[in-house]
Amino acid sequence: MERSCRVAPIPGIVPEPDMKPYDPAAGITTLSQDLIRLLGEESVLAGQSAERAYDCDAYTVDRSRPAAVVLPNNTEEVAKVVRYCVKHSIPFTARGAGTGLSGGALPALGGVVISTKRLTKILEIDLPNRRMLAQTGIANKKLSDAVKHAGLHFAPDPSSQTVATLGGNIAENAGGPHTLKYGVTSNHVLGVTMVDPLGEIVTFGGKHFGGPEFDFVGLICGSEGTLGIVTEAWIKLTPLPKVVRTALASFDTIRGATETVAGIIAKGTIPAALEMMDSGILKAVSAAFGVTYPVGTQALLLIECDGDDVATVEAEMQAVREVCQSNNCLDIAMAETEADRAKLWTARKKGVGAMGRLAPSIVTHDGVIPRSKLPEMLDFVYRVAADAKVGVANIFHAGDGNLHPCFYFDDRDPEQVKNVVEAGEAIIRKCLDLGGSVTGEHGVGVEKIDLMPLMFSEADLRMQGKAKAIFNDGTLCNPCKILPNQKSCVEHKMRWRGMAW
């Protein structure tokens, strides 16, 4: 892959030396043997198949092969590997399940991938205090499964939750459909144990929120593995709501649905989930699963309210219904049973998969706008797609203003690829024009590094460089991510995003 940097480094932000990709041939010839000596044979993978399996995450556009992959069993072993890498100037990158969508776990300069695959233990469950200590390689959903019997769960619920790891969730500050009410991952992390970029084992935060110090845990969450490798975390457990009401409202105009979203919030109601799907998604879902929606439906809103007492939840749902009706909704289907609820969620949960059947390539973007701007933004998305002559469908966290426009096209046609690239950039720029963000949940990774200067000034980025330097003054711990200050990094092969949710 090409190694020249297309991103102009920002003057003055953590000047980093020219970083060379780690060249195993020129580097230390005994790398694998050394790692085996440190961790044992069963914990080290090397060779072509390992290199290929770990050369990218779910953002498959950019790839870079590691020289070796290690599977440590505990914090100490992670620290040993990091210290070894530091001693020999070998870059290292943490990896969870590899479901990241911005190339965060990509070993951009090669070196060692430190996988948390074996760090899957729950170390302590403390039901009275509603918290749990777990290793960070455990899948998100296993955390909730472990305490379901006690009426508790780990609230962050990314769609990838059956495989995505706690460490990956912390690093990306993952959200999900229920983020609107329950908040992103950082709101559920009480304390972390981390191997810092020099290989020292450190802890931050504790067993409950707050403390008389800077909120370092708040900084570590969302830092995409660039501040160290988190090996264990105390997480907050949230009671499962006793009452859940789910509705699916259909609208014959996009505007009707988008105005409803802002209207619900303006009324002082925050549903647990408020998700939107447009007709492009519905067509795909209908074709794939035979589900039908009211004739003339252009947009659906999946709305879920939850809480502990029926009266409050019903009152919220009533408020929601009124806003839907005032925006001329066609129909509101309410779930009476758990099976109904699953059915109403079908379009949301299976929409993107169904899209995959419609076109050779789909590309999903991730941007955020203030939700009151949804009507204007969606008009813009459709116009851009029409101008670019590519198909677009939308399935997204409307309540959070977190868009995922999904383009479908034929990537064998260079003209279409070019149009999709340009359309994507136009959309992200529009998000910023409207006061939003370049990413709501996929992260910056390598994918969006060159968009950072659109959102942040040079002074802002310098400050971010300083924040990174609190923990990571060097260039070895997950290099080439987040900040556009690093030379010799990844040249994006194509400016379209591989896949996404």
Binding site: L219, K267, I270, P370, V438, G440, L461, M463
Partner: protein, 277 residues
Amino acid sequence: MVALPNTLESIARWVAETPKIAVPSSQGWGAPISPQAVGVDLSTYSGILDFPVKDQIVKMRAGTSPAELQQALAAEGYCLPTLFPDLQPNQAPFEPLARSQTLAEAVAFGLPHAREAQTGSWREWLIGTTVITGDGEIVKLGSSVVKNVAGYDIQRLMIGSRMSLGLIVEVTLRVFPIAALPKSSLIVVREGEPGAIRRVLDSDFEAESVKPEVLAHDRNSGTVWLESAADQGPKDSWTHQKGTGIFEGDPVAKWMHRAKEKFDPHAKFNPGVWGIF
């Protein structure tokens, strides 16, 4: 105490020219700040800048008082979900937000409140800040949308920073509908001036809340207010008292020093505030 100039640019110039700046706590929290520093009355820089209700956010100057903020939010059915302003008269001493003169101070001290278990705290509410660095640069941290994962969340590092990393001049918060406010469980045991706030685990709560020095307790957030912080309290609790709360030798002190070196290399802001800087 000096008043701040009334534009960001002029504040930035003033900060760049002033060698040491103190933004003391209106509650007397924190170790004493060096008397050589010029004291700033942040409440002179106040006012709500934007409150787009549909976006569930509010942006304000950092010196805005909690009372002014809550009033503006309430007019649209929103609030910051602490007990304030719906306090019983005897609860006021036990609600840090009611005692903070400015929003920035409430953020900078990251104090607990009585509805924390259900409605979260500053880490959830604070989505962006504008900060002036010691060199007089105006820096935006975070964003102004409720969901954002672009770059490092430095605005969260300002929580608990006691203004020692930079001068917080604007604050953007996520707000909460009043209709969904849960009940609180703050109980005032006896009137008095709290000398310390302690956060304890639920499992220690029964034992801690009946101790004689306890003035008030709140089950939901696991908080007890003490007349003074004479005893050590249970392992795993933290105590925030009139004093520092962090000591040299604390493992976290090393990282606080590193953050200070990076963000405020000339030790301009609140010299002395931690007792460690």
